[in-house]
């Protein structure tokens, strides 16, 4: 049954891709592309569910392809199946959304053929990444994924900053492939057709310094794709320029391939290592979480803000996985399982609410043709549906109770709280620090999304575009709606998903083959009854109380009359948008609190009225924050390469005699080497 689904997936994606080529620009083309990717993603979803239900990995190989390197081996175990489901859940709504969102490209701003073709290939290559069975297939699919997503990022190639962002993205994606090539070839001792099974058995016998090197390579290689802090610089560059449904896919699903890779290599192939591995992952995760949200706070480009939040949520996922790794190394199996489940569940939740937020941002961009939050405002009146869905996404990402963000963060918290069972105190002390940083992150995330939602949707429109904004078409709302429903469902009914996650983790890296008896009936119960919570009942309670209040008010015949009048503006006649709070002002207290990190620079240029110094024509306030990583890590690196390039360039100086001198020197040197150096 799974084979037919697999072929069905290939055919569906093939159909979508060819439809893009054949029909191209028209609306039929856009819809056929969407149908192709929806069917393909649906088939992938079904395969994933089937494999998790069956519990046994599925293997298949296409002998024709890659005959030189062990053939195209497809092996889907439960971990891969989970991520296949993730791709499916992420792809279906975005494809529907994309069908009408890409209407803006019909005027030639971007090539629709390329967008449709590459979208389907991108989804297929991601599915292939999680289904890869041997090294070559994995590396092939990994680079295909980077290439197709690069083409998606540069769909609007005529915008000035797109190509720059695209080059950054492809360069860092390629560097991630470089690390993975070194990793896998070291792991398999140079046999590029080794299947993951043989690697697993081979890895156990490797010397521990080599395993440490492999771990570091895996962390950097997959970290580049996941966007952990020092390696995250491509995320805020690529997401704003990509079409919104593509950034939803990239942020929701593409960076999770980094998480998949990390789990596959560190936990499955290397079988989990010493405690410091988990410590490093936890450390990197917490730093990514805090820095991600802090930089997001200072952003006023809606999609850059969301991109930084992806860095933050990847940090939270890594905190969960790091904790799991630490517990596994100390043999606390149930706690380790809880950590991994927290991480995986947050991966799923993030895919859902980040997808929703990006689609919302896409609708806003679609309506107001600008990403700058300072120019928006009052969109909730002209775009009620988008605003409602964006609110659900914002609440979910800020981990507010009835929604899914809260459940996964609660699981991660419980895993961290279990830290006191770690025998060695100096390792155990990391856990409270992580708890502190995680809590700070969720607090700041809430502040950031109050700013994002409040400034974008509430109060008075700040620019003419924001005034004439119109609601997005039905298929865009349908896409967002599906994600919103998923957000609420995953938040209210975790007991349906979390037990399956424990089945996903079974058998990886020495975790118990049989899924631990996580008695997840109505309530979520962390092991040793350390913490217990029942999201459905909380949600039910909230709904009941919210229902009771108006009823109670009617019973006690509270005054129901309501009048609408102008906002109190300290006695001024009319209230103009310029009197509203701006995003910069909203984030100003936090910029001042974290001034050590941001080192804000402030430029104030006032040009006075020609007649008198007391009247002002215009004031321009510009505040920049210090991009640490770009300035102190990437710029020196690029500078070094440019310097060496300038030196090497001088070799080809144009003088024939110099060229002949090179040949003669080479001749003399090699003669000396040949004659006298054995």
């Amino acid at each position: 049954m799974i084979d037919t689904l697999f072929i069905g997936m290939i055919l569906a994606y093939g159909f979508g891709a060819s439809a893009a080529l054949v029909f191209g620009r028209g609306s039929i083309g856009r819809w056929l592309v969407a149908v192709g990717s929806v069917l393909g993603a649906g088939a992938g979803l079904a395969i994933g569910i089937a494999v998790i239900a069956a519990g046994t990995p599925v293997e298949a190989s296409i002998p024709g392809l890659f005959s030189f390197a062990g053939g195209l081996l497809v092996r889907l175990d439960s971990l891969g199946a989970f991520f296949l489901i993730l791709i499916g859940l992420g792809a279906i709504p975005t494809a529907l959304y994309g069908a009408s969102y890409s209407k803006t490209y019909e005027d030639g701003r971007g090539s629709l053929r390329q967008l449709g073709l590459m979208l389907n290939l991108f989804l297929f290559s991601m599915s292939l990444v999680v289904m890869a069975g041997n090294i070559f297939t994995f590396l092939f699919a990994w680079e295909c994924m980077s290439l197709t997503s690069y083409f998606l990022v540069i769909t609007e190639a005529n915008e000035p900053e797109t190509l720059g962002a695209g080059s950054w993205y492809l360069a860092m994606a390629h560097i991630s492939l470089v690390f993975l090539t070194i990793l896998f070839l070291l792991l398999s001792g140079g046999d590029w057709s080794a299947s993951f099974n043989s690697l697993r058995s081979g890895a156990a016998v490797l010397s521990s310094p080599l395993r440490n090197v492999l771990f570091v390579l895996a962390l950097i290689g997959f970290g580049l794709k996941a966007g952990i802090v020092p390696l995250h610089v491509w995320l805020p560059l690529a997401h704003p320029v990509a079409p919104s449904h593509v950034s939803a896919l990239m942020s929701g699903v593409l960076i999770k391939m980094g998480i998949y890779g990390l789990l596959r290599v560190v936990l499955d192939l290397l079988g989990g290592g010493p405690a410091w591995w988990g410590g490093v992952v936890l450390g990197v995760g917490s730093v990514s979480a805090v820095l991600g949200v802090l930089y997001a706070l200072m952003e006023h480009d809606l999609k850059r803000l969301l991109a930084f939040h992806s860095v933050e949520n990847i940090g939270i996922i890594l905190i969960g996985i790091g904790a799991g790794l630490i517990f596994r190394s100390y043999g606390l199996i149930t706690l380790a399982l809880l950590g991994f489940i927290g991480g995986l569940y947050h991966t799923l939740n993030h895919a859902v609410f980040k997808g929703l937020l990006f689609l919302g941002a896409g609708s806003v961009l679609h309506a107001t043709h600008t990403r700058n939050v300072e120019k928006m405002g009052g969109l909730i009146k002209s775009m009620p549906w988008t605003a409602f869905f964006f609110l659900i996404g914002a609440a979910a990402i800020s981990a507010l109770p009835p929604l899914n963000g809260f459940v996964s963060e609660w699981l991660v918290f419980q895993a961290l709280l279990g830290g006191f069972q770690i025998p060695k105190p100096e390792m155990a002390i990391i856990m409270p620090l992580a708890v502190g940083m995680l809590a700070l992150t969720s607090g700041l995330a809430a502040a950031c999304f109050v700013k994002a939602f409040g400034i974008t949707f509430l109060a008075i429109p700040r620019s003419p575009e924001a005034e004439q904004a119109h609601e997005s078409s039905w298929s865009m709302r349908l896409g967002m709606g599906m994600f919103a429903v998923l957000c609420v469902a995953l938040g209210v009914l975790p007991f349906a998903v979390v037990p399956q996650l424990s089945r996903v983790m079974t058998g990886l890296g020495g975790l118990p083959a049989s899924p631990a008896a996580f008695s997840f009936n109505l309530t979520l119960q962390s092991p040793a009854a350390f913490g217990q919570m029942s999201p459905p009942i909380i949600a039910l309670g909230l709904v009941v109380i919210l229902g009771l209040i108006p009823v109670g008010m009617r019973i006690f015949r509270i005054n129901q009359k309501r009048r609408v009048s102008a906002t109190w503006a300290c006695g001024q006649i009319s209230q103009t948008p310029r009197m509203e709070y701006t995003a910069t002002a909203f984030a100003e207290p936090l910029r001042r609190v974290f001034a050590q990190l941001f080192r804000p620079t402030k430029e104030l240029s006032i040009d006075f009225h020609p007649d008198s110094k007391y009247f002002v024509q215009s004031i321009e306030y510009r505040s920049e924050i210090l991009p640490w990583f770009e300035r102190f890590l990437y710029r020196p690196l690029l500078e070094m390469f440019h310097f060496s390039a300038r030196q090497v360039r001088r070799l080809q100086s144009g003088s024939l005699h110099l060229y002949l001198l090179y040949t003669s020197l080479a001749l003399v040197l090699l003669l000396v080497v040949a004659r006298w150096i054995k």
Binding site: L147, A171, L656, L667, A674
Partner: protein, 485 residues
């Protein structure tokens, strides 16, 4: 017998071009058709090589011989030659060449192809050297097809560096032959490869080491290995596009073929360590120089030329990594010839449209020339080693060879250099493909048969990327068997 079908067609084409005094355009068409015959001949030789059995020989004291290595190179040379001729400059076409220039071009390009085919099929070491020297001379004559300051400069540098290099190679051949004669005495057809290979273990190591240095420097100059690469960017940037496609695509391959032949002989005596060490040193040096020269490059033809230097360096480095490395190097050689010849021909189209070789003058290629733009983009992506194309597989095979021999730091250095090249080529490619259409550049391009031909190249590259057909795999393994006993 089929040797005649291999060598004669280009010679007759040259004669035909010579005889028809005022150049007619049908001469060009006849010559292109004639160039298909060598492809057939090389396919026959490949068939012969695949079925096993002794390699066919021809001529007085076995002058020509076609074993699997020669057959592989023959097919490469003849295929790229046919492509070069079909898409070569035509009378009245977009090219600004007058009839006399075209006549000279047709004569010497066909002689050039004949010399390469002779070099690859020569069994006699001396004849191989003579024909490689002939390729230098013939190609030098048609670099300055249009007499400008830069093309004259490029041709002078090319002829001088090329000739000195190849003369040193002859000195190496003489030293090796001296050692052989001194040991065995003047035996019948002593300069033939099989004879040399049989008696190689008995030669004297010190002399052969010196001889191999001369050979490496000589043929390295022809292959564009650093530090003898300096002529390559100038010659390829100034030569007419089809010629630089031929030179970059296959002339480098022929020079590498010569080095590979001599490496097979020398390894039998000294063991692979000595030659591998030299090849890896020079290969890495060429990659360093080429990769960093592409970062700040303003001329797209020179960019392609530096990428050829880089790939030659990578191939030589591959040759130094044992049997698996040689397999990867040959695979890379095939992919590079296919991709680079396509790219140079497309560069020719771009030059006809934009009349400038400066990267800063070229933009909006996808809009002005949709077909050429897409082909050029695909070719460049293949060149930098992205998946669906063969170069990705070849480079990975090379890393496999490197890692299995524990040259880890060398492989890391190679990966870094490839990444430097990757980033700079992507940036240049984006600069060309997108952006506004410059003033005065006409838009639109018919999907003529000339572009259709290039899709064959793209097809081959994609096929090589996805799967390796069984005959090609056995051929490559046979070649590795010959070279690394």
């Amino acid at each position: 017998m089929s040797f005649l079908f291999l060598i004669l067609p280009p010679i007759t084409a040259a004669l035909l071009a010579g005889l028809v005094r005022p150049y007619r355009s049908w001469v060009g068409r006849v010559n292109s058709l004639l160039s298909l015959i060598p492809i057939g001949a090389s396919l026959v030789f490949i068939g012969g090589a695949l079925t096993g059995g002794p390699a066919p020989t021809f001529g007085p004291d076995e002058l020509l011989r076609a074993d699997s290595l020669s057959a592989l190179l023959m097919i490469c040379v003849s295929a790229v030659a046919a492509l070069g001729l079909f898409l070569g400059p035509t009378l009245g076409g977009e090219d600004p060449y007058r009839a006399a220039q075209l006549r000279r071009y047709q004569i010497f390009v066909n002689l050039f192809i004949a010399a390469m085919l002779l070099a690859v099929s020569a069994n006699n070491v001396g004849v191989m050297w003579v024909s490689i020297e002939a390729t230098t001379i013939f190609s030098a004559l048609i670099i300055p097809l249009i007499l400008t300051k830069t093309s004259v400069e490029a041709s002078w540098k090319y002829i001088l560096i090329g000739s000195t290099g190849i003369a040193l190679a002859f000195a190496g051949t003489v030293l090796a032959y001296f050692d052989f004669v001194n040991l065995v005495g003047p035996v019948e057809n002593a300069l033939n490869w099989p004879v040399l290979m049989n008696s190689a273990p008995a030669l004297h190591p010190e002399i052969i080491r010196v001889a191999f240095v001369f050979l490496l420097i000589g043929y390295g100059t022809k292959a564009g290995l650093a530090p003898m690469h300096t002529w390559l960017p100038d010659a390829h940037a100034e030569a007419p596009a089809p010629l630089s496609a031929l030179m970059s695509g296959v002339l480098l391959a022929v020079a590498i073929y010569a080095m590979l032949r001599w490496k097979a002989v020398v390894d039998l005596l000294l063991g692979p360590a000595f030659t591998n060490q030299l090849l890896i040193m020079l290969g890495l040096l060429s990659m360093v120089i080429a990769a960093f020269s592409m970062v700040i490059q303003r001329n797209y033809k020179r960019m392609l030329a530096y990428s050829s230097i880089e790939h030659t360096g990578l191939i030589c480095l591959g040759l130094g990594l044992g049997p698996m490395g040689i397999f990867a190097a040959l695979y890379l050689l095939i992919c590079h010839s296919t991709a680079k010849s396509m790219l140079f021909l497309l560069a020719g189209n771009i030059f006809h449209r934009y009349h400038s070789t400066q990267l800063s003058d070229i933009s909006g290629l996808l809009k002005t020339m949709p077909v050429t733009g897409r082909l050029f983009a695909a070719g460049m992506l293949a060149l930098i080693g992205l998946p669906p194309f063969g170069m990705f597989v070849a480079e990975l095979a090379l890393f496999r060879a490197g890692f299995s021999r524990q040259y880890i730091w060398l492989m890391v250095a190679v990966l870094v250099l490839l990444t430097v090249a990757f980033v700079s080529l992507v940036r240049h490619l984006n600069k060309i493909l997108y952006g506004p259409i410059p003033k005065g550049i006409s838009v639109g391009e018919p999907f003529g048969w000339r572009n259709a031909l290039l899709f064959i190249n793209l097809g081959i590259l994609t096929m090589l990327g996805l799967t390796l057909p069984a005959p090609l795999l056995t051929l490559l393994n046979q070649v590795v068997g010959i070279v690394a006993k």
